[in-house]
């Protein structure tokens, strides 16, 4: 969980370098989309829950797929459109394992994420309730 901007390029380069002898690296970068209304969004988390949950999720991916390594990054704090929210990478000897691991991590990241979001529209911050949010999230990630 990072409260500053993800340096996506640096992370990708570092991960690729650490896993330089892996056959392949799959990755997914999720960004704040432009819905034409939202000026900014803020994600708050509760570290005692999110950090072990994400570590455990990464561990589960490592045990479930034949991987050389995984990376799971999630932004918290205030973000604007175009900025990265999530970066997931998996290095593996085989493409299929790398792909499936990234997919698995993305699918399960939400259930591991104790995150509260508010969005700024027309200058006003509003907390996003899950009902409306489910739809928004699905359209962002799925």
């Amino acid at each position: 969980m990072l409260d500053k901007g993800l340096s996506v390029g640096e992370a990708q380069a570092a991960f690729s370098n650490i896993n330089r002898l892996s056959g392949g690296i799959a990755s997914f970068l999720g960004k704040v989309r432009d819905d034409g209304e939202t000026q900014a969004l803020e994600l708050t988390h509760y570290a005692p829950l999110t950090e072990p949950a994400i570590r455990e999720l990464a561990q589960e991916a490592l045990s479930r797929f034949a991987l050389d390594g995984v990376l799971v990054w999630h932004r918290i704090g205030v973000m604007t459109r175009g900025q990265p929210i999530v970066l997931v990478m998996a290095a593996a000897p085989h493409r299929r394992a790398a792909f499936d691991a990234v997919d698995f991590l993305m699918d399960h990241l939400k259930s591991a994420s104790w995150l509260w979001k508010r969005e700024k529209r027309g200058g006003t911050w509003e907390w996003i309730e899950p009902r409306a949010e489910d739809r928004l999230d699905l359209s962002r990630w799925t």
Binding site: L43, W127, P130
Partner: protein, 79 residues
């Protein structure tokens, strides 16, 4: 003392991010001391309580001792 951590909109409603209540603290004690609308939402299914980093399956079983941290978790918005 038991540290109470307010997350998301609960922090707005409480007007603070955290405060301390006297130990020991159970569900009834918590519900009486927090803002009424926080207590009300905590009675619903979608809000949760964690005690020292563990989300409680049964909120009413809360039993916080001196030095514990109780986080009040509104419905999550996803990530």
């Amino acid at each position: 003392m038991v540290r109470i951590v307010y997350l998301g909109k609960f922090a707005d409603w409480a007007g603070r991010d955290e405060e301390e209540f006297e130990a020991p603290l159970d569900w009834e004690g918590l519900a009486q001391r927090v803002e009424p609308r926080i207590a009300e939402e905590l009675r619903g299914d979608r809000a949760h309580i964690s005690l020292d980093g563990v989300v409680l399956a049964d909120k009413q079983a809360l039993s916080a001792k001196d030095g514990s941290e109780v986080a009040l978790l509104p419905p999550v918005s996803g990530g």
